[in-house]
Each structure stands twice: as structure tokens, then as C-alpha cells.
Symmetry: C2
Subunit: 125 residues, 2 copies
């Protein structure tokens, strides 16, 4: 997996797990791959996986059963809220950065639309 070297890997792994849950690749109650397996798959050290899962456990997203494995929580309410939480986080960050540049909300929407149009054009290459 390709990681951004400006932000801790364990943090990016957390985001990856969020993503897999949101995409439905990981469902409530489902068993995650073994940490040694994840370490191989993501090509990072077991301890780095551990740190990410440990924080996810603290959040209640992941339940660890010693000797058995790691499982996605069965708390469907928590999982439902996850997508909203993650998406909102991203828009919140963007909003604050734009505001710091004195860009108005209306302009933000326009910038986003323009960016989208631009991506569509480039797609046609």
C-alpha cells in the first residue's frame, strides 16, 4: 500500500479500515484478517498494525478477542454514524482551510464544481 510520508502510517491504516467499513467490504461482526496477515498485505510491521487496531478498539469500531482475532463491532448504530463522521470531517477540514484564505462558502461550491468539470475533461484523454 502507498502511504503519505507526511502523516503516521498507523493513522492512515485507521482511515483505511474506516473506508473498508464504509464501502461495506467489512461488515458488522465480520472477522478481520489476522494482524500478521495484515502486516504482510499492507507491508508494514505488526506493531504498526497493532497501534492502529488498538485505537480502533478504543473507539469501539473493532472488538478484539484474544486468541481469536479482531472483529468489526456489531453496534450497527456506530457503524451507521461512521460514514457521516468521516465525510463530515473531510468537508470540515476543507471548509476551514478555504475560510482561512477568505474564500466564501459560495465560492467553495463554485471551486468544487470547476474542479469536477476539470477532472471530467482530463478523463477524456
Amino acid at each position: 500500500m502507498k502511504f503519505n510520508d507526511k502523516v503516521p502510517i498507523y493513522y492512515q491504516i485507521k482511515q483505511y479500515v474506516y473506508q473498508e467499513i464504509i464501502l461495506g467490504h467489512l461488515k458488522a461482526g465480520q472477522k478481520l484478517p489476522a494482524i500478521r496477515q495484515l502486516a504482510v498485505t499492507l507491508t508494514v510491521n505488526v506493531n504498526t498494525i497493532q497501534r492502529a487496531l488498538s485505537e480502533l478498539t478504543t473507539e469501539g469500531i473493532i472488538i478484539t478477542q484474544r486468541g481469536k482475532g479482531n472483529f468489526v463491532t456489531n453496534d450497527t448504530q456506530l457503524l451507521q454514524a461512521l460514514k457521516k463522521r468521516i465525510v463530515t470531517e473531510q468537508f470540515s477540514e476543507l471548509y476551514d482551510k478555504m475560510l482561512a484564505l477568505k474564500i466564501t462558502p459560495a465560492e467553495m461550491v463554485q471551486y468544487l464544481k470547476n474542479y469536477i468539470d476539470q477532472r471530467k475533461e482530463v478523463q477524456h484523454d
Copy 2:
């Protein structure tokens, strides 16, 4: 200054300088505060300031004159392009993250509008 501990301080200082230029607080040719002064103002070490300015110099945004100080470039074309570059970077990041969550461009716009409305409501408290 408050820094995000997930990303290097020198990197955040670069962003801060970009911001000050975009906002027009720093204009073409203008002298920056002395690095020792910046270090005090931002409450970081001189070397950390140095690293940020060194990278900005490499980009041509800042011109260093030994013994005199650091100055914003007079290359107005470069400065003009800066705002677009920084803003686009942010939307690009958002777009990619949303796409990873299988959120369509149309939905992105809607999410942004919703977030903006939400912020407006909260403002009224």
C-alpha cells in the same frame, strides 16, 4: 501558533506563508520578518523556520539575501499561480478521498452544500 501534531511543523509553516501571500498580507518583493523574529512569533526553533524557508526558496516563492533577509519573490506570475495551486490541491485531496468512498461528484457538491448550511445554522447560536 497552534500546530497539528500529525504533520511536520516546517510543513505547516510553509502553508502559513502561502496563506499570508494569498491573503495579500505578504506582497511581491516584501521583506519577511527576520528568522529569529519568526521563531519567536511562531514559538518554534530557528532551524525549523530555516527548513521551511529553505524549501520555499527552492520553489522560488521566497528569495534569500544573506545578511539582508528573506523577501517574497517579484515574480508576480508565480504569485498569481499560487492561489490556484493551493486551492486546487485542497479540492484534489478532497475529491480523491470522496472517490475512495464511492461518493460521486454530484454527491460531493451536495455534501458540501449541506455542510455549509449546517455551519450557518450553528453560527446563529
